[in-house]
């Protein structure tokens, strides 16, 4: 077993653990923290089914963003949808045999990388050129965009320019899943891609990427408009008996 293999095996175990534990911890905090008052943004659904539909529109179509600015919506949506496709395509590196669905989206998933890059570039230009957005941008926001761009470009390069030994890569990751050490090719582009991805996984629970679980817990979006019918007294707000 090479040093590279060992290093990356450990890196990915660590990254996976940090990502999982970090996000689960956050989700538990969100789920446990009380919502003592109905503060849903109106007009709002009157039923739980309505809330699920509202959430679907928000998460899949970015409804609120669409209402706001069409350009940001376009670039943001393009990026996220392409990212989703690319992620789904990557499932093939973690299973044998590969699900039919994953096989079907394979060609689409490959080219989605370009959509991702285009979306990210447009968002980056906006972040630099629109005065208001520049004002609210912290160094970490720029760094996040660069990180995602680097991941997308390094990944797309391996798909379209300099192929890596993808069979060996897959064998490495399948091995990780069964706690068997199998060699990882020491291809610089691959190693760069993997390092960046692991970095993203590690900072996920420490950064604004928490918007992913956060959106589902947002009280202004996930509450039913039922305040007149139901009481919602939080434990801390109960009168001492």
């Amino acid at each position: 077993m090479t040093v590279v293999t060992l290093l990356y095996a450990l890196l990915f175990y660590a990254a996976t653990a940090i990502l999982t534990i970090g996000v689960v911890r956050r989700v538990v905090i969100y789920a446990r923290s009380p919502a003592p008052l109905r503060i849903v943004t109106m007009p709002a659904p009157l039923t739980y089914t309505g809330v699920v539909l509202r959430m679907v529109r928000e998460v899949v179509f970015f409804e609120s963003l669409f209402k706001s600015t069409k350009w940001t919506w376009l670039f943001g949506w393009l990026f996220h949808m392409c990212l989703a496709l690319v992620l789904m395509r990557h499932i093939r590196y973690f299973q044998e045999p590969v699900w039919l669905g994953v096989q079907i989206i394979q060609p689409l998933g490959k080219y989605a990388a370009f959509g991702m890059i285009a979306g990210l570039l447009a968002l980056a230009v906006r972040r630099v050129c629109v005065e208001r957005v520049r004002y609210i941008t912290a160094p970490s926001d720029r760094a996040m965009l660069l990180l995602l761009l680097a991941i997308a470009i390094s990944g797309a390069s391996m798909t379209f320019l300099m192929h890596t030994d993808i069979v060996a890569v897959k064998s490495f990751f399948l091995g990780l899943m069964y706690f068997e050490w199998r060699p990882l090719p020491a291809d610089p582009l691959l190693l760069l891609h993997l390092t960046l991805v692991a970095t993203l996984m590690i900072i996920f629970p420490l950064s604004k990427l928490l918007h992913v679980p956060g959106v589902f817990f947002s009280p202004t979006r996930n509450q039913v408009d039922d305040a007149r019918e139901k009481r919602h007294v939080a434990a801390w707000a109960r009168d001492p008996a």
């Binding site: 007009p43 709002a44 609210i136 979006r221």
Partner: protein, 499 residues
């Protein structure tokens, strides 16, 4: 007439997005509490405590554990910028700190520094800051330049509501003894005496007697404005401004005429003579409950069957969205009616049942438009279907007058612009902010004035009414343009024809 720049209205319904002018409003702060009693009455330290940084951070920790909204909102913002051009205070002032996300960031900087790993170890990278006096001063300025109108939350992909952040910020500032004079003083009166103005029962009775005389002089019909009548069907809770301020009082007259013609017995309460509940503005759950509890107690004491709330935006939010939770259950009231009921729901039901005789032509001298008040539009509902808060007041207006036009889409319904004076900012020490914040609404109004000759701006909020009568002249409108929906009903209703 102003010693500050008043925005200039143009030929478009929606204001252009301004270029940013950093620190343009940094210096504007409302007066802080200077009489310690105004803080201590609400359970806050009388003046700024010495170890305020420590107390503030501890309070923030407490709030993060109590409110999911705060925790999720502080974590989830991606700085997408979607909200940046949505706040009327930013549009009117250009101060980038008045962009909703930048306003939130004043708290997020502290949250990151004291509560997140990234902010502890890499503060520069994530824009985390120590809670210095300078930051606190910015908090005091900019968290009192938010009217908690929630317009930003409509457009945020995560529903982040800056109103929640500014309420929490004010709660933290109160916890260290840095209270805002206007809100805390008024809230103290409400909790102690029963209304924001500190009117004792005889003064209220006096006012009501005066109103009865005026209505009789005007119409020749005796319309009663009952106070503390046990066994009445309806307890009406209305903002105390309705008792004396112009144009509010004409709305109260309208409610009285509606009750009169419908033949439904009703009463006001001297113990609970206030619909407003300023505790919401400072995020104080306990004080909100104390103030609201007077209403529950009065309803029980008077033995009424239902509670109806008068024209007031944040009062309706508190009543609709919070009452059942904080002072419910209302199992002692008649279950046939929603608790509480908005006066517009009440009047609209009567109109639909044909119980009121309205002569629309009585309002023919008026061309009416309707200003959706933020707290009604984005924080509560009327009627049985989502959006009833938009249709019901308009239905009443259309039943009361012949000429009604809406302002431009994008400035009404859930996208309505704040009047500029909500959220505890209706104080003279914030006049420049109030005038500039009204700019988007004034712009939309100017358009319908020019195109349709609108001369009546109807609103169902005591704060909107006071604010508009003050700021309309700055934009060269007639200050008497503003009035209530029930003022239109009052004009149209034909007393003596149905009862």
């Amino acid at each position: 007439m102003a010693d500050f720049d008043v925005p200039v209205l143009g030929d478009y319904p929606i204001c252009p997005v301004p270029a940013i002018k950093p620190d343009a409003m940094k210096g504007l702060k409302p007066f802080a509490v200077n009489n310690p009693a105004h803080n201590t009455a609400l359970g806050f330290p009388g003046a700024l405590v010495d170890n305020w940084e420590e107390v503030a951070v501890a309070k923030m920790r407490e709030l993060l554990g109590k409110y999911r909204s705060l925790q999720v909102f502080l974590d989830s913002c991606v700085k997408c910028g979607s909200c940046t051009d949505k706040c009327h205070y930013f549009i009117g002032t250009g101060d980038p700190r008045n962009m909703p996300v930048a306003r939130q960031d004043l708290m997020r900087q502290i949250y990151r520094r004291y509560f997140t790993a990234a902010g502890k170890y890499l503060p520069k990278l994530v824009d985390a800051k120590d809670f210095t006096r300078e930051v606190l001063d910015d908090w005091y300025s900019y968290y009192h330049q938010c009217s908690q109108c929630r317009r930003c939350s409509v457009y945020c992909p995560f529903g982040i509501d800056t109103a929640e952040i500014s309420m929490a910020a004010r709660e933290i500032m109160d916890a260290i003894g840095l209270g805002q004079k206007y809100t805390n003083e008024i809230l103290g009166k409400n909790i102690k005496i029963g209304n924001n103005l500190g009117l004792p029962p005889p003064a209220i009775r006096n006012t009501l007697d005066g109103i009865e005389e005026d209505v009789e002089d005007d119409t020749g019909v005796v319309v009663r404005f009952p106070l503390d009548v046990k066994g009445a069907d309806v307890l009406l809770v209305t903002p105390s401004a309705d008792f004396f301020a112009e144009p509010h009082i004409d709305g109260l007259i309208g409610y009285g005429k509606v009750f009169h013609q419908a033949g439904i017995s009703w009463t006001l309460s001297s113990y609970a003579s206030e619909g407003a509940n300023f505790a919401m503005f400072i995020g104080s759950y306990s004080n909100m409950k104390r103030a609201a509890m007077r209403i529950r107690d009065a309803a029980r004491e008077l033995g009424v069957k239902r509670i109806v709330v008068g024209e007031c935006g944040h009062a309706w939010r508190v009543a609709y969205s919070f009452w059942n939770t904080i002072i419910g259950p209302f199992d002692f009231l008649d279950p046939k009616y929603p608790v509480p009921q908005h006066i517009c729901e009440f009047t609209n039901d009567l109109i639909r049942r044909g119980a009121l005789n309205l002569d629309k032509s009585a309002n023919d001298h008026r061309v009416v438009t309707f200003h959706d008040s933020c707290n009604v539009a984005r924080a509560s509902r009327m009627g049985q279907v989502p959006g009833g808060q938009y249709t019901i007041p308009r239905d009443i207006i259309k039943a009361s007058c012949n000429r009604f036009v809406d302002m431009a889409s994008g400035t009404i319904h859930d996208q309505t612009f704040c009047c500029g004076g909500g959220g505890g900012l209706l104080t003279d020490d914030l006049m420049p902010l109030r005038v500039k914040g009204a700019y988007p609404r004034m712009q939309a109004l100017r358009q319908v004035q020019e195109e349709h000759g609108v001369n009546y701006l109807a609103a169902i909020c005591a704060i909107c009414k006071s604010q508009f009568s003050k700021v309309l002249p700055y934009y060269k409108f007639d200050r008497d343009m503003i009035g209530g929906v029930h003022q239109l009903v009052s004009t149209a209703i034909q007393l003596g024809t149905k009862e």
